[in-house]
């Protein structure tokens, strides 16, 4: 059974078609990345999947339940970690989780062991009695993830789990997510703006203008937009150019486009008689993938055209 199953999903806000006929499936146990420029419709799609908005047409099932007709069943089987904090900072970490356990009606005898388990997973067990307001941004995010896991959801939705965190904390959050994939039988559905982080996903969907424009593994998406670039510097570029088919001279040296750069380099060394002084293999990045499917880089797309970042931040308030 697919963990998430979306069929012909549509949602319009007035004239704007936020979600314009979207179909996809997420397999159980998968880590699924959902990318797209702002206003592409990914927030609306997630809201529908989390039962926070209703679709105009089409259907969606999460953990086997219909998001339209079995709202509470869906809610019981999903964990939500929003971009903005939803913790009570005047309560302790433990009290926040206990509140969640009660609200989700967890059987009383499993609350304590489960709490210890999820808090140990995110490395906060020692801080359980501290009020949340004493926590750093990264700790709060980790606590939110722990809370989202409390009731053992089948699908965990993470909306920008690392946004606004420093690189070190971002890395540690990914470490916890990796651990989570090993320890729990869970499907992770996440959105992110950091293309390097999308690499952690099993599959990636890119949404643009309300439609799904790409859906595949990161490897295949990258392969689909272009080949690897092998750049070499040699003792005698002219001689090398003469014997290498398809090679072109560039400012960095000799540029060769091949399907599999890693496999090409050993062959190159074996066949080329001209001494090679340096080799660089560049693979297409997910940034290239994003650019090729949406016509924008993800950083450009974070801003509304003509509006500086701080203004769009103010407008969101």
């Amino acid at each position: 059974m697919a963990a998430v199953e979306v069929r012909g999903l549509r949602k319009a806000y007035g004239e704007i078609k936020a979600v314009d006929g979207v179909d996809f499936e997420v397999q159980a146990g998968e880590t699924f990345g959902f990318l797209g420029p702002n206003g592409a419709g990914k927030s609306t799609t997630i809201k529908i999947l989390c039962t926070l908005a209703t679709a105009d047409a089409g259907s969606a099932r999460v953990a086997g339940f219909d998001v339209g007709t079995q709202r509470d069943d869906v809610r019981r089987h999903i964990g939500l970690v929003f971009q903005d904090t939803t913790l009570d900072s005047y309560l302790s970490a433990e009290q926040n989780l206990r509140f969640h356990a009660e609200l989700y009606g967890m059987p009383r005898d499993v609350v304590a062991p489960r709490m210890q388990q999820v808090m140990e997973m995110v490395g906060l067990w020692e801080r359980r009695a501290s009020k949340v307001l004493t926590f750093s941004g990264g700790m709060k995010r980790r606590l939110e993830i722990a809370r989202g896991l409390m009731h053992s959801p089948r699908v965990l939705f993470l909306d920008e789990p690392t946004v606004g965190l420093d690189p070190q904390t971002r890395a540690s959050i990914w470490e916890y997510i990796g651990q989570l994939r090993e320890q729990e039988e869970i499907t992770i559905f996440l959105t992110t703006h950091y293309m390097d982080e999308a690499e952690h996903c099993d599959r990636i969907a890119i949404m643009d203008n309300g439609k799904l424009v790409a859906l595949d593994t990161p490897e295949r998406l990258k392969a689909s937009v272009g080949t690897d670039r092998v750049t070499i510097q040699t003792a005698d570029d002219d001689a090398a150019l003469a014997v290498l088919p398809g090679a072109v001279a560039s400012s960095d040296g000799i540029l060769i486009s091949v399907d599999d750069g890693a496999a090409y380099v050993p062959k190159l060394f074996a066949t080329l008689t001209v001494p090679i002084t340096s080799v660089t293999v560049t693979r297409p990045s997910l940034d290239d993938v994003f650019l090729s499917y949406t016509g924008r880089t993800i950083r450009d797309s974070e801003q509304t055209p003509g509006m500086p970042a701080f203004m769009s931040a103010m407008a969101r308030r």
Partner: protein
């Protein structure tokens, strides 16, 4: 690799909703007991009213209150108004919850939204009743004899009053997103409600417009039973009693205390229904 105990969330049902209500109330209580300064601050207002304003005005009013100390007369009204403030501000806390995101955690849970809102209402009423207990401790200082029966009656009435007020607060703030907006709005709402309730003056010999306004104000029907309960434990000449605690009449009909309390309860339930509906419209 550790194996995971499968945690099955039980089916929805009354038990689940009751647990949700309970934990929402419990959170309000935890927050209240943590914030002891708020408790102390909440006592300042009744103390000022009773001992500063009450003592100061006593010399002016001696003739009209007769043998009864003005502070004794004011006590039930002050009990009512101080719980009024606490109850309304408990309702306002839901706007804080929204601003700090915690409301979202509550609204996405697999429980009826009405359970959450009802929990908030009962939480506010409980906190306000605790506040009422603190004010009750002052009673002997102004010659109100506290018998167990009176204490139980007063606390029950205060609970009812504060539940209705919290419901009113919730209905008003349901769509409001900013605490700033609420603070101003509450001032506009609170002062007329308390001034027009007869909490601070007797309902006799009022100008016609004021006596109509007082009868329209639902709070009047919560304040009057509280005062009647206190007065039934005081001894004073019949004419003073008639002047200071006259019965509420509708077109000549004396409204009995149970009817007044029922009226307050019905208004509370209706307002709670409005609040739930409002919150159901929020995503």
């Amino acid at each position: 690799m550790t194996t995971v105990a499968a945690v099955a969330v039980p089916q929805r049902g009354l038990v689940l909703d009751l647990r949700a209500i309970k934990i929402v109330v419990q959170r309000d209580l935890i927050r209240t007991f943590q914030d002891r300064t708020r408790f102390v601050a909440a006592l300042v207002q009744p103390l000022l009213f009773l001992f500063v304003l009450g003592s100061g005005l006593s010399s002016l009013t001696q003739r009209s209150t007769g043998t009864l100390d003005l502070r004794t007369f004011m006590f039930p009204g002050i009990l009512a108004t101080s719980t009024l403030f606490t109850a309304i501000f408990s309702a306002v806390s839901i706007v804080w919850d929204r601003e700090f995101g915690f409301l979202r955690e509550m609204l996405v849970a697999p429980v009826r939204r009405s359970s959450i809102i009802l929990g908030k209402g009962l939480g506010g009423a409980t906190v306000a009743t605790l506040q009422g207990i603190l004010v009750l401790v002052l009673a002997p200082l102004v010659d109100v004899p506290l018998t167990p029966g009176l204490v139980v009656t007063l606390l029950a009435e205060v609970f009812l009053l504060s539940f209705t007020l919290t419901a009113l607060g919730l209905a008003v703030v349901a769509r409001i997103r900013q605490v700033q907006t609420v603070m101003g709005l509450m001032q506009v709402l609170l002062l007329p409600l308390s001034f027009l309730s007869g909490a601070l003056y007797p309902l006799s010999n009022l100008p016609t417009w004021l006596s109509i306004a007082v009868r329209i104000n639902p709070l009047t029907y919560a304040v009057h039973p509280i005062r009647s309960a206190v007065f039934s434990h005081l001894s004073m000449p019949a004419d003073v009693r008639a002047r200071l605690n006259p019965p509420i009449t509708w077109n000549g009909w004396v409204v009995p205390t149970p009817v007044q309390l029922l009226l307050v309860a019905v208004i509370g339930v209706v307002l709670m229904g409005v609040a739930v509906r409002q919150f159901q419209k929020v995503e």
